[in-house]
Every structure is written in C-alpha cells, then in structure tokens.
C-alpha cells in the first residue's frame, strides 16, 4: 500500500514537472502552428523539435504501443520517429497533407516495420509476459485530447463490428486485405467491401469536424 502511494506520488510529480516545463515555453511558441514548427526544425531549431515532441509524444507513443505491445520497443520506435522528423522535416510538404497526418503515418509505419522485424518471436510472446503498460487516466490527459478521443470513439461506435475489426487489423496489425481475408476465413471481396464501407462511413460521421480533429 505504501509503495503504491509512493509510486503514485512520483508519477504525479513527473506530470507536474512536465507541465511546468511546458508552461515555461513562451506564449508565442504556444501559438506556433505545426507547419511553422517543422519549418523551424528543418533549420536546425532544437527547441522547435522539443515543442513538437511535447505536443505529439502521447498520441504517437500510444499508437506505437498499440502496435508493438512492448514499452521498451515502443520507446525505441518513438525515438526513431522523432530522429526521422529531425532529419526529414525539410522534406515535409504542406500541400500533401497536414503535419498530424504525416507524423501519425510515420509513427505507424515505423511501428509496423518493427512489428514485422520482431516477426514470429513477437507473435509467440505469451500474453502474460508482455510489458504491462497502464493507460493514462482521463484526469491526467489534456482536455482537448479527451474530446477528440471521445469524438472518434463515438463515430466508431456507429460502425458494424465486422467493419471495425477489418479497419483495426489493417491499421494496427499492418495486415493486407488478403491476410485479413485468410485470418477471418472470409472471402476477399467481402473484406474489401467492409474496409471501403467502414472508411466511407467514418468519413461521413466525422464530416466537417475532420479538419478540427487532425
């Protein structure tokens, strides 16, 4: 009981310290757009990278952990992602998409690569021996993040289960349509239809809110 309290206190101190370090960043930096941050990073601005890291570390790490199921591997991948941002920021082209989409795609892609390189060894890991990673509570999350999460979850709750499953297998497990068809013992055409219908429905459900969410 005492050890649990100490652990909880240390965790809260870490969160407070991080929040303090964010507050010491200047007001003007809090107004800087992601595009401006990437532009500064491409000029070698480490502060800009630090700010971008603070802004996106949680969601990117969450996606990576969801894919590789190991905190250690996920932290390694997260570091690789931001090193790639550091070296490739000058290649980012705003006309091709929003920074959020670029970053999430980068993180997911790296995580899927890591998952594949771990290969059979990773898949054979028993549930009980996987790193236990405790999710952050709502109270500790940024309120905007929570709102966005709720908005997305609400949209997904309107999808039929079979469409959600196909989307998650593609997104979080890196499965191709053929692989999904094989694993679900479903016809390939059915998988293609479910995937397409699921994405179309999601886009309709997000509607104009999509631009605010990314």
């Amino acid at each position: 009981m005492v050890d649990d309290l100490i652990a909880l206190t240390n965790r809260q101190s870490s969160i407070v310290n991080r929040q303090s370090s964010i507050k010491t960043l200047t007001f003007s930096q809090s107004q800087i757009s992601d595009t401006e941050l990437l532009s500064a990073i491409s000029s070698g601005d480490e502060d800009a990278l630090a700010y971008l890291f603070e802004r996106y570390r949680t969601i990117l790490f969450s996606v990576i952990v969801r894919i590789v199921y190991s905190r250690e591997e996920a932290e390694d991948v997260l570091q690789e992602v931001f090193l790639q941002v550091w070296h490739k920021a000058r290649d980012y082209d705003e006309s091709r998409g929003k920074p959020f989409t670029w970053l999430v795609t980068l993180a997911r892609s790296r995580a899927i690569d890591r998952l594949r390189s771990l290969g059979a060894r990773a898949r054979a890991v028993d549930e009980a021996t996987r790193d236990v990673v405790e999710p952050v509570s709502d109270a500790e999350l940024d309120s905007i993040y929570t709102q966005k999460q709720e908005r997305v979850q609400r949209a997904l709750s309107e999808l039929p289960e079979e469409q959600k499953r196909v989307l998650f297998m593609a997104y979080f497990e890196g499965c191709s349509q053929s692989e999904i068809a094989e694993r679900l013992s479903a016809p390939l055409g059915t998988v293609k239809t479910r995937m397409r219908s699921g994405m179309i429905r999601l886009r309709e459900l997000f509607g104009d809110a999509l631009k605010e969410l990314i």
Partner: protein, 270 residues
C-alpha cells in the same frame, strides 16, 4: 481502392495498378490525402500511454552527439591543410621511356574515354527528350484538370435541381452582379460574377454563406479578371447548406474568418 491504400492494406498487385494512376492524377492524389486524414484518426482509438522522460533525453543526446561528431571532422581537415607547407626538394627529371605495354594501355584508355563520352552525350540527349515529354504530359494534365473543373461547373449550373440565387451590387460595386448555383446534396457551388471592380494589392473578394447573421461561414476568395468577370468554384460546408443569404466582401488575400461588413459589394435578397 484509395481507402485501402490509405490504410496500407492493398495487396501488391492492386497497389501497383493504383500507383500508376496516382503518378499522373493530381485529383486522385488530393483525394488520397483526405483518406489518409480519415485513417490517421484511428490513432485516437489506441489506449493512451505516456512515454518515459528518458525518451526525450536520449533523443536530444543523440542529436547533440551527431552534431558534435560533425563539428570534430572540420577542425581535423583544417589542420591537415595548414601542415602542407613543406617545400619538397627538386628531383632530377628522368627520361620517360614507354614500352609496348604502356602504349597499348594508353590507347585502350583513350578508347574507353571516347566511349564513355559518347554514352554521356546519348544520356544527355535522352534526358532532354524525357524532359520534353514530361512537359507535354504536364500540359495534358493541366488541360484535363481544366476540363474536369469545367464539367463540374456545367453539372451544377445546368442541373434543374440546383439552387440558384442572384446577388446584386452594393457599396463600391453598384453595377456588379453575380449568380450563385449550388447543389444541396454535394455542396458544390459555382459563382459567376460580372462588372466587379479590381481590388487593391493584397486584397481579394470573399464569399460568405449566412444561416446566422451573427456568424457567417467563410467561403473561398477570388479576384476578377481585367474585364471585371470572375468564376468561383467552391464547396459549401454541410452546416451552411441551408444558408438563406449570400454575400461578397473585400478581405485580405488569404481570406478572413469574419467579414468586414463595411466592404459588402454583392448580396442576395434576404
């Protein structure tokens, strides 16, 4: 196939086929980005986990280490350059004698150089031809895009189900007139305007869709040509599709989020 491609879930054969289309079709590439945006939102479904502070520390330590390593290389190169101040002793020249083998090697080297130079020249010519072809393809693509935009415009303007609204000139453009046609299902809209005065540098006209007078929805900006004519293609957001009033004001080129009401120059009847 675009949604599946956005999820990186296409099988190899389908992917090849789609990538061939994507290379030459900007409209498809734009649509693919929209699907990628939708797919990226799945990130919010992952349980939220915080990384440890050590990730940030390792990241910046790594970056600083690489920066330091790059700086260390430069001084070493400078030192090497500075130490090259030794004057060598002159050496006696010796007669050069070429034996048959050396002659043959020299000839072979000359032939190789000529061959490589020809290869280089042919490559340059090929490159020029490719560039010409690329320029042609670009022109063709631009024409296709113009044709597509025109078709979309004709579909809206010519559809009997499209809503049509006339806008009259006001303020600094009393003679201006405009006609807005829009499809309530898709939101596709086309504004055709005439007798518009030119705008000052850095400014443009902007259309507004008004369901609530206290909160007009901004549309795109546009500028008239030298004859005062303009055609604007826009998409009315779904939340404003029931707009009952439409207006045009003069704003900054990049557009505004709320209208400068003193610059209204076109307005529909309420």
């Amino acid at each position: 196939m675009l949604p599946a491609y956005a999820l990186d879930s296409l099988d190899a054969e389908d992917m090849c086929e789609l990538e061939n289309y994507l290379q030459t079709n900007e409209v498809l590439r734009y649509e693919l980005e929209e699907w990628r945006e939708t797919a990226s939102l799945l990130a919010y479904t992952a349980p939220v986990i915080e990384p440890s502070d050590s990730v940030r520390e390792k990241l910046f330590a790594n970056i600083r280490l690489k920066n330091t390593a790059q700086k260390d290389v430069a001084p070493i190169e400078e030192k090497t350059a500075q130490s090259n101040n030794v004057i060598p002793f002159p050496t006696q020249k010796t007669k050069s004698t070429w034996n048959a083998f050396q002659v043959v090697m020299a000839v072979a080297a000359s032939v190789a150089i000529v061959f490589l130079a020809s290869l280089l020249w042919m490559t340059i010519q090929d490159n020029k031809r490719n560039q010409t072809e690329i320029a042609e393809l670009k022109r063709s693509l631009e024409q296709t895009q113009k044709d597509l935009a025109q078709t979309q415009e004709e579909n809206v303007l010519g559809s009997p189900e499209a809503n049509k609204v006339a806008l009259a000139g006001l303020g600094t453009a009393p003679k201006a007139q405009a006609f807005l046609a829009y499809d309530k299902k898709t939101g596709n809209a086309v504004l055709v305007a005439d007798n518009l005065p030119s705008v000052p540098a850095g400014k443009a006209y902007q259309i507004w869709y008004i369901t609530d007078m206290s909160n007009p929805t901004p549309g795109k900006t546009f500028k008239p040509d030298a004859n005062g004519k303009a055609v604007l293609r826009d998409r009315i957001p779904s939340g404003s599709i029931q707009a009952s009033v439409f207006a045009v004001t003069i704003e900054d080129e990049k557009g505004a989020t709320s209208p400068a009401l003193d610059t209204i120059c076109l307005k529909s009847a309420s």
